[in-house]
Symmetry: C2
Subunit: 475 residues, 2 copies
């Protein structure tokens, strides 16, 4: 019989969710350990600048070169973002090999190593993880059909893939609802409410397990949002600020256009250039190593890195960008006792450079983010943070001139920026819900949605989406 | 050209959203004024019990009798919830007359009067409002085709209806995202991502306008959630509490089954009984007046009403149920200065009866809610609140035995109960997001979703949904 609308294979969806959550969590754990090792190495080598430079650059270069080489030696299908290929599969094209389970190990190892180098090279976990989740779903589906000796129909396979994509998004961000919506928006053009239910069920199992493991590992005291933010619910923002949120949306849309253009141009240029094209075709590990070496040299902390908070990991970047205190105000009271290392409330100091100011640091971070490899999230949050910090500087006592003064909270703009930029790049509006779920804060939902809509309108007018762009270049 | 995925008729969606938001807001305002007038009348008549009784009962009886009579005299299509009929229309059946704009005025007046009697009779605004929104959309569509002399196709009409339904939900709760999701879940079985985008755009315009009007009317200082709740984000709930949330989901599912059964039985019994059946067919206003008189007599404050906080309006019920302090703890310190009348922080005292305790009051409220006319929301919140208060009583210092003590927060359970009960009754999971959007609080999203899934599994196994049940009885 039917166990409500999820259908008879709810156990299958449950297993998929729990499995992917465990993998996602273990991956995060290993990435964190490898990242800690790098930080430890960098600190231990002492004050010799050459040693510092070598320890800073060689570690990520070795990791990424190894990951590319390892993955490439097993299969050519383990690289890349994954979402463009999945979109192609869902539209009806047969890419049987692409979902083969033998690519799974290579992709896990490759992704872990690449993300461990994340303090220097920004790469997203989302796309590859959705690919991983689809592989597991395809494998589980084959296993089931071989056990119950039932003919596996194409229709059911696609149903499973849709659920797997929701699980992939949900277990990266611990966000069940937006996981479903984002995967629907990015992947399909039509879908059944039945699929939505199945995705919802699987994504909830996944997100719950993902947060549960964090509690078991004593990272968190209880199940809570991934990037807890202490934003106010009573008075989240002043009414005229809506205008600034809309402007932020327009800025994010424009920057997303520039980003999408640069990204396509870069992809094509690398392919067409004789030197890089040959290198990419024949010796991918060497090519990756060279790119990483270049980027790591730029982010070297005693060099340009001091201008871009490069000592922070990806997660720390986001936590510091969502900090609900105004950096500008904090910077005026630097004389206060510096918080202990590892305290998230002290992360903002990485952005405060004595000679370049917070704004300079943020701008530099943005420019590099735009020229660097694809990584929507921290870029958008940084745009929003910069916008918010400038507003906090312009209106130190809030906008209203009479009555109670409510200072501007820059982290609200960081939320909106993250949602608007990633929404514009991927052509989706559910990123507004994604940032709400990831921070556990919903009072900003209306201005965030407005910013996302404006950014989308601009990006969709001028550029193809990130995934469509990749498909265009690969053709 | 296309203005991104919303399509060329974005101005149409914008107008629809803004218009429905204004109507929703004006309606709320008038309802509040009429409700205030009733409260004033009840207080002014002095201490004569007979006068008090008359003023308590005659007012809502007159309002509802007038509304039924007025609406009936114009058209028979203005009554009822609206959602079952819309579901029928979307499935392809022609009910042209049902969306005619001439029913609009009758429905607005009828709904306003009925809801103004809301302190005694519980009735939902959601269903009728979705019907209103669809009427407006159909009318705007006709207007447009007559202006641009374009053939109006069935396909486009349905697209508009889907968007209108999202707007209807969004402008009742000020919740853009869950408005879209709820309308999709309840109305359709398949849909296009393009429709989802259009609904999203229109619902955002509507929800924004709806909250904006509240600011212009000085009800709120800024754009914020409808039922702001001060729940903690740092430590929303302890891990073992997840178990209690799941139990709450099961309880809500079981009660939803009982409710759905009673509701169908009552609908059929009223129709089949010779006396009530004839009354319903020939003299609807009299029938309504008698039912309201009966209910108002039960809720008479000096009588049984003192056991069910009947002096609170629907909105005050929800605000008091979502109060983040434990009533049980508050009741132990009643000696503290009573807050001023009208302060939302004093509303809980309505639930604290000297001889019957908070629990008795809640149980009584529930029993009546179950036997009364359909109103998912406060019933579910009350179930959850009762569950939470009992837990707070059983574990006064929280669940964990070592380390920091975190007391149980009953309002978290009220949130989950509201979502689980209304989700089970309507067969939808997006109610989980709806309560998050309506309260601006997202940290409880995972346990709330779990409770909703469990409640849905139970309800879908044993009973048809509220809307399907109504369709079955009407056949």
């Amino acid at each position: 019989g039917l166990l409500f609308r999820v259908g008879e294979d709810w156990y299958f969806l449950f297993v998929l969710g729990v499995l992917m959550a465990t993998i996602s969590f273990m991956m995060d754990l290993i990435i964190f350990r490898l990242y800690e090792a790098h930080r430890w190495l960098y600190q231990e080598v002492g004050d010799y600048l050459v040693l510092k430079y070598l320890s800073w650059t060689i570690y990520p270069v070795a990791l990424t070169a190894f990951s590319t080489g390892f993955a490439n030696s097993i299969t050519p299908h383990s690289g890349g973002s994954g979402i463009p290929e999945l979109k192609t599969i869902l539209s009806g094209v047969e890419l049987e090999e692409y979902l083969a389970i033998k690519n799974f190990g290579a992709k896990v190892v490759g992704l872990t190593c690449t993300l461990s180098a994340g303090s220097t090279v920004f790469l997203g976990k989302l796309g590859p993880f959705v690919h991983l989740s689809s592989m597991v779903a395809a494998y589980l589906g084959k296993m089931r059909t071989s056990v119950i000796r039932e003919y596996e129909d194409k229709f059911k396979q696609n149903e499973m893939l849709v659920a797997a994509q929701a699980v992939g998004v949900a277990t990266v961000f611990g966000a069940p609802i937006s996981g479903v919506l984002f995967s629907i928006e990015v992947m399909s053009s039509h879908f059944a409410v039945r699929d939505y239910w199945r995705g919802f069920f699987a994504a909830t199992c996944g997100a719950f397990m993902f947060r549960l493991l964090a509690v078991f590992n004593s990272e968190q005291e209880t199940i809570a949002a991934l990037f807890k933010s202490d934003l106010k619910i009573d008075f989240p923002f002043d009414l005229p600020e809506t205008f600034f949120f809309v402007i932020l949306g327009a800025i994010c849309g424009a920057i997303a256009c520039a980003y999408l253009f640069c990204q396509r141009w870069l992809l094509a240029a690398v392919k067409e250039n004789r030197l890089t094209g040959r290198l990419l075709a024949t010796d991918k590990p060497l090519y990756t190593a060279l790119v990483v070496l270049l980027l790591a040299s730029i982010t070297f902390p005693p060099g340009l890195g001091q201008l871009m908070a490069s000592r922070l990991s990806m997660k720390e970047h986001l936590i510091s960008l969502f900090d609900n205190r105004s950096w500008f105000v904090l910077a005026q009271n630097v004389s206060m006792a510096a918080p202990q290392l590892g305290d998230p409330r002290g992360l903002w100091q990485e952005w405060c450079h004595p000679s370049a100011t917070i704004f300079g640091t943020l701008v530099f971070f943005l420019v590099l983010g735009l020229l660097s490899l694809p990584v929507p999230n921290p870029t958008g949050a940084a745009i929003g943070r910069l916008h918010g910090e400038v507003l906090a500087l312009l209106f130190p006592h809030g906008i209203r001139t009479e009555g109670t003064a409510y200072p501007i909270v820059p982290s609200g703009y960081a939320l909106a920026g993250a949602a608007a930029f990633s929404g514009a790049v991927t052509y989706s509006v559910s990123t507004a819900l994604l940032v709400c779920e990831a921070t556990g804060h919903m009072a900003h939902v209306l201005p965030v949605v407005l910013a996302v809509l404006v950014a989308n309108a601009i990006a969709q007018k001028w550029q193809p989406s990130f995934y469509d762009g990749t498909i265009i270049v690969k053709k």
